[in-house]
Amino acid sequence: MEIGRRSFLSFIIGGAAGTAISPLPWKLIDDSSIWSQNWPWTPVPPDGEYSQSNSVCTLCPGGCGITVRKVDDRAVKIEGMKGHPVNDGGICVMGLSGLQLLYGPTRVKTPLKRAGKRGEGKWEKISWDEAISDVTKKLAEIRSKGESHAVGSIVNSDSGTVPNLFKRFLTAYGSPNFMTMPSMQDSYNMTMLLMQGVSAQVGFDAENADFILSFGSGIIDGWGSPVRMFKANSAWKVNGKKVVQIESRLSNTAAKSDKWIPIKPGTEAALALGIANVIIMESLYNRENIESQSGFDAFKELVLNEYSTDNVSSITGINSATIVSLAKNFAQASKPLAICGKGQGSTPGSLNEFMAVHALNALVGNINKEGGVWAVSESDYIKWPELEMDSIAESGMQKERIDGAGSEYPHAKSLLNRLAEVINSGDGSLGALFVSDANPLYSMPDSKALNTAFDSIPFVVSFSSYMDETASNSDLILPNHVYLERYEDVPTPGGLQKNVIGLTKPVVTPQFNTKNVGDSIILIAKALGGSIADAFPWDSYDACLKETLGDKWDVLEENGFWSDSDSKVATGEFNFYPDAMKSLSSFSSVSIEGSTISYPLVLIPYDSIRLANGYIGDPPFVIKTVEDTVLKGKTACVEINPKTGKELGLTEGRYAFIHTPRGKAKVKVHLYEGIMPGIVALPRGLGHTAYDKYLAGKGCNFNELIGPAEDPISGLDAAWGIRARLTKI
């Protein structure tokens, strides 16, 4: 047969049609897709016996109760614990993601000793014996040279048994340099001390307040004990209570409040005093009770002379009528409550602001009242025997602290914000540094300067469970168990008006070759011998904890928490006008770095509950929830007002550089109508260099762009922003 054009085409088309009609190609496609779907790397989670275990979350200081669901010995889900006095079943994004930290790739699995240069990422695995003896040798050497005071430690807070073990260790060893990570609690504690003469933790009876005046506090952005505040916020909504939010950016808190009043950032203290002015002028306070209190006359003179409504209006940029009506509404509410501490309260802030806001609370008479501010005496369950110091320890403890707390700034307990400058300017040095439950190289302002300071500390020991920025820049890592693997007490979360102590429990057995940091300290102390060993009579951390908690142990072991039946109030005489307030006689905002000519804009940070900015960074689930207008690819977005964008020729989604006197970073522009023109806002919690690939290298770290500004009274960091410039790429 001749193959012509016609028969050729018939053959091709007929063949194609025949193949298509036959099941063969479809069967092959189907088979190959089923085959590829069954590739063995799609895991099949094994079933087993189900159980539940109650514990406490320690990923932030919030102290929420958690219930962990288990299948055999695997923890598979974390949920909020029902009936817990802090969170009653609620839980946040971080708490829910705890298992990604427990089983995740960022764990430090065994003690590590630096093998390459510091920060290079080369490690040698060592045994626990070797790790403890390395630390002991170094510490004995420093001590024998009479330089015991050159050893410091940085921990997350100063309450609870683990921080107190560190403190006790340093005291017995002979160093006053016990440092803690700063937060708004420091400023509140100092306010309590200066205005009420008490050493107490601040508590807010938020649930019972009916008018909440928030000076930039991120009530639903992670301020205080986050889940508790979420719950309080919902209760306010249901019961028709009013919330007024004062800040320059429409945060989630501002959007959910009843009224958002934008303010020139840094002028909050002036507004508080302006409100006090209206209250006094219009006699909206209880004259009989308030006027007899000490310092009131001087306070009255101050607000009447300096903080007239017109004056405050020009300082804050809020119109006079708004100030007057705000003051009236606040004073006439039956249970008004004023709070401060910007965002999540992770920086201490200006003490003037805290005192002015606290005076406002006192003026409406809500100190230690239902719905008001409480001075809560800390639960004093840690009653360890007095330790005996040897001569070296005694002389070491006589030395001044490296950060100037207690000397230059007499009221301060710890001023970690000053450490970088003291070391870098050669005014002081450390021979060894312990870091536990903290990540200062990421979360301290001007983290680059602190990094430089760390370079000159010859021996840095990290007790981190994770390979965070500080751990990766240390010489030795003695990894702690994760909170789901260990016993530890959780002291009363900040902002609660009564004491609630929690207990974390080993929900699962330790997954790796790690050790409770408490045990590590006890072992080091015992190895050093002498009076240091004598100060630690316990066989193990668990024994120490059990003894310390005494009769609370059984309750804690069973329920996971122990709470005071009612508030323990620290009472002292209120003083409206402590000496420290004299600096308010003419208002000036805490000045921020940079000249207005080279840096025409103001950069402020903002906090989001979806971005953790403390010791622990976002686990994969949490970073996944971050919006694409906050983080896109590897670039963080800055928020600017469309007006500012127009002036700078920047449109939505454009890449730009942000320059500040401290640093420069590539950012993406997000035009946002909820921000004051002239201001640039950058989220905290991005720009990690450590942790896993899901977090590292994404966005820029706000702390690299800002420097600390020392508060003239407290010495704490009072920086609320920095001047900045945006340039097109």
């Binding site: 779907q37 994004v93 829910l96 993601s97 694409d628 109508e673």
Partner: protein, 273 residues
């Protein structure tokens, strides 16, 4: 058992989300991911392919500073009933991989039946469905926290919110063992509802007047489940998808954002039709 079932009124599980209380914290999203073994990748900032059964959207009122306002809107699968179970996705699925369960009103997704044509994704007006473009990869050791109640999905299939159907099954198993056929309201709650720290999500049987969801939404079953509460609305109501997720807001601009309107249309008059 069968005899009893005959007389039992069909359940219609649904949700009411209070947008005044929702803080946009994202706990519902993570609670869902942790409960349902949802995978994650290095970069999740392309939200079109970032698998989130529950996604929280940010709405803006479109006004300038300082009148600007924002509101968060959590979006699970709406479990549309459509007209007698003809939800948009169920009607188009050629593999019967997604089905409408008349007993509970839940729209299922059966991964092993799905062959990835993504017709359902095109049909879903809520972008509630996600395609597994890649094989799920958990970092070393992380498969330990995977829950045996929900099978991890493989590349090439579509997944979506199931109203935590496995929780319904577990609760029903427990009830049967105890000789009951009816669940108490709190026996079956989704992971997101349970986690929400603001208590903004209410979940239950919309057909049961005892349940809070019924009392909040006041659904009118004769008119496609239309809400009887004037502050309650559903997304894209006018499409007639008859979704079982209701939203509640005291702000008119938020309620208005739930549907599309032509210019100068009288919102107050039309928004519930």
């Amino acid at each position: 058992m069968k005899e009893e079932g005959k007389h039992k009124k069909a359940k219609k599980y649904g949700m009411v989300i209070n947008l005044d209380e929702c803080t946009g914290c994202g706990a519902c999203m993570v609670a869902c991911m942790a409960e349902n073994n949802v995978p994650f990748r290095e970069d999740e900032s392309n939200k079109l392919d970032s698998i989130a059964w529950m996604r929280v959207y940010k709405l803006t009122n479109g006004k300038s500073y300082p009148e600007a306002d924002i509101c968060y809107l959590p979006r699970p699968c709406m479990h549309c009933e459509g007209d007698h179970g003809h939800s948009p996705c169920v009607s188009v699925c050629p593999a019967t991989a997604t089905d409408y369960n008349y007993e509970t009103g839940i729209v299922s997704q059966i991964y092993t039946r799905c062959f990835g044509c993504r017709y359902c994704m095109a049909a879903c007006p809520y972008h509630a469905r996600y395609f597994n473009w890649w094989d799920p990869v958990w970092p070393e050791g992380s498969t330990k926290y995977l829950s045996p109640n929900v099978s991890p999905r493989m590349r090439g299939v579509v997944e979506k919110c199931s109203f935590c159907f496995h929780r319904y099954q577990l609760a029903m198993d427990k009830a049967y063992l105890e000789g009951r056929t009816v669940l108490e309201e709190d026996e079956y709650q989704t992971s997101c509802t349970q986690a929400c720290p603001a208590g903004a999500i209410t979940f239950g049987d919309l057909n049961n007047p005892e349940h809070k969801v019924h009392q909040l939404a006041k659904p009118d079953n004769k008119h496609g489940g239309r809400p009887g509460n004037p502050n309650v609305f559903r997304l894209l109501e006018r499409l007639g998808t008859n979704p079982k997720v209701y939203y509640m807001s005291s702000r008119e601009w938020v309620r208005q954002a739930g549907d599309n309107y032509i210019d100068n249309e009288d919102f107050a008059k039309n928004y519930r039709h």
